[in-house]
């Protein structure tokens, strides 16, 4: 009797309980929370001036007690730059993921809902966009708009929309019975109402997981674009551009490349662990 009581509870609590059972997911979440806090309290941890003030006397110094991660070619503290790059990266990652979720979601859901020629047309369009590898597309768009953070976000959103549209469209088809859509239509609801009130809650889980993975990929992508000089412009610190700076000094100052790269890895990995954990927690199939 008591066992049965243990199993009931709100869906959210259930999902959270399942989520907590995976050590990887918990580790990912903890690391992500730490990063998030670092991003919010960046200024408290280390003043922004430390990240951008050049100091010719202290160029290319190895990690020491004064400069935990050493200094770069301009004498700036790498630790400070990494800390202040955190909010930038997280911001870019989350905005790209959320915006492309909204736009791509609208395209995908409406496509699945209306079907017919509209669906065909939309999917052809998405197919064409998908024939161009994502990084390439973003590069061209950034070239068009000019290389700065805002344009980079726009470029990545354009590239990411293809994926979100496809995922949300197949999520609608994948929901166990599309008859609830028919039922809602019979009830006389307007199309938009149906899409928002009925369809979205049903595919929320899949969208959530996909968005989380999006954040992880976007952080990586942003670093890639900045590495090529097509993203965040100096002196704003960004992990990818820091790696680019480190290229020429690979031989003389290898410490410059270790830390930013590791930061990218940590951010991308932790969020993708969270995404994995979410997916397993939302899908109640037994694993053993």
């Amino acid at each position: 009797m008591d066992n049965r009581k243990k199993r009931t509870g709100s869906k959210f609590k259930e999902t959270w309980r399942r989520y907590c059972k995976s050590p990887a997911a918990m580790i990912g979440l903890i690391i992500f929370i730490i990063m998030f806090l670092v991003a919010i309290f960046a200024n408290q941890i280390v003043p922004y001036s430390d990240a951008v003030t050049q100091n010719a006397k202290e160029r290319l110094m190895q990690p020491s007690l004064n400069n935990w991660f050493g200094t770069d070619a301009f004498g700036r503290s790498i630790f400070a730059r990494i800390v202040h790059a955190t909010p930038t990266s997280l911001f870019i990652g989350i905005s790209v993921a959320v915006i492309s979720l909204v736009i791509g979601g609208m395209i995908g859901i409406s496509s699945a809902y209306f079907g017919g020629r509209y669906d065909d047309l939309m999917m052809r369009f998405i197919d064409v966009l998908s024939s161009i590898p994502g990084t390439l597309l973003s590069m061209v768009v950034v070239a068009v708009l000019g290389a700065n953070m805002r344009n980079m976000i726009i470029a990545m959103v354009i590239a990411r929309i293809r994926v979100s549209a496809r995922v949300s469209r197949s999520a609608v088809f994948g929901t166990t019975s599309q008859e609830y859509i028919e039922a809602a239509k019979c009830g006389g609801s307007s199309d938009i109402r149906i899409m928002i009130k009925h369809i979205v809650p049903n595919i929320m889980g899949i969208l959530l997981v996909d968005t989380t993975m999006s954040v992880s990929t976007s952080i990586l992508q942003a670093a890639s674009l900045s590495f090529l000089g097509l993203g965040v412009q100096p002196p704003t610190p960004e992990w990818g551009s820091m790696l680019n700076d480190a290229r020429i000094y690979m031989r003389t100052a290898p410490h410059m490349m270790f830390f930013p790269g590791f930061a990218i890895l940590l951010a991308s990995l932790s969020i993708s662990l969270v995404g994995d954990g979410l997916r397993d927690a939302l899908d109640p199939r037994l694993k053993s």
Binding site: M1, N3, R4, S288
Partner: protein
């Protein structure tokens, strides 16, 4: 060499996960002779499938455990055999037919390949031609044209798929076939066909069979002996006459018979058995059927009920014990 093919003694099986332990089977004993058909009846969750899987040691390794008992097949204990020996028995001497034909066949292999594999695994002679011939023989046996051995499972309907599964089971002429609700997933008309076919084959080949089902109608058609299972225990067993025409029955059996809708008499309501099966994570102290039994007595709640034997008929219920109500 006795006539006895299978003897299960006091078998107990548990499933253990991080959260809880499920007592699936608690001290079950069964016996089967050559050529006999035993019907194993019970609701979902009674432990029938677990029993079937234990016979061939097909239970999931990590989560299940056979805590006690022995399964004597041809006078050898299956539970003590090596993995090699068990594998040589599977398919060749004991074959299994599972419940859902739609998922029981590998979608990327032809049915000829799958039936052929069953044969190949258990014969020393791997002559390709001989195997092909046997495959075709077996297919005709179940009413499928031999040319279709080159077809894939998705090209067959549900009923046909189940015939393929039966063909696979028969391919090596096993001594015992365990059929776990073989017709439940099929339409009623197909059910009748498949059942008739199984009965004919059984008569022709003399195979012993354990037919697991929740449908008393099927039991009446095809089974010599019956065992009624409830919450991991056998509560009543006997010949088909004992069960269908006898006067004395376990209250659960009576409940089962009563829940069958009657074509001849008019009733306003169906008569289900009130209550639900007990939580399998807890073994009740007394009789597991006590909470739902109309004849429940004090003694039923305090200890395990005694077994009452009348010839071939056995009932595990205090109602029939010495000094009981009857």
């Amino acid at each position: 060499m006795t006539n006895n093919l299978l003897r299960i003694k006091d078998l107990s099986v548990i499933y253990k996960t991080d959260l809880e332990t499920v007592y699936a089977i608690n001290g079950v004993s069964l016996s089967l002779n050559k050529g006999e058909t035993l019907g194993l009846v019970g609701e979902t969750g009674a432990g029938k499938t677990t029993l079937a899987l234990s016979l061939l040691r097909l239970l999931p390794e990590r989560t299940s455990k056979i805590t006690c008992g022995e399964i004597m097949f041809k006078d050898k204990n299956i539970l003590e055999m090596s993995a090699e020996e068990v594998r040589s028995i599977r398919g060749a001497q004991i074959a299994m037919i599972f419940q859902d034909p739609m998922t029981a066949l590998n979608p990327v292999l032809t049915i000829g390949q799958q039936i052929g594999e069953a044969i190949e695994l258990h014969s020393e002679d791997t002559n390709k031609e001989k195997i092909e011939k046997r495959v075709e023989e077996v297919l005709s046996l179940v009413g499928i044209e031999p040319v279709r051995k080159k077809d894939y499972p998705h090209q067959f309907s549900g009923g046909m798929k189940q015939r393929v599964v039966i063909a696979m089971a028969l391919a090596c002429e096993p001594d015992l076939i365990v059929a776990d609700e073989p017709t439940t997933a099929l339409d009623v008309t197909i059910q009748a066909q498949v059942l008739k076919m199984m009965r004919d084959l059984r008569d022709r080949l003399g195979t012993a069979m354990i037919m697991i089902t929740h449908d008393l109608g099927i039991v009446a058609q095809i089974c010599d002996n019956v065992a009624v299972m409830y919450a991991g225990n056998i509560v009543e067993s006997g010949t088909a006459e004992d069960i269908f025409e006898g006067d004395e029955h376990h209250p659960y059996t009576i409940g089962l018979f009563n829940s069958i809708p009657d074509l001849e008499n008019k009733t306003s309501r169906l008569k289900p058995i009130p209550g639900l099966m007990p939580d399998p994570t807890e073994i009740p102290i007394g009789c597991s059927f006590a909470p739902r039994c109309v004849h429940c007595m004090e003694i039923c709640k305090t200890g395990k009920p005694t077994q009452y034997v009348n010839g071939s008929h056995s009932i595990v219920c205090n109602l029939f014990a010495e000094g009981g109500a009857k």
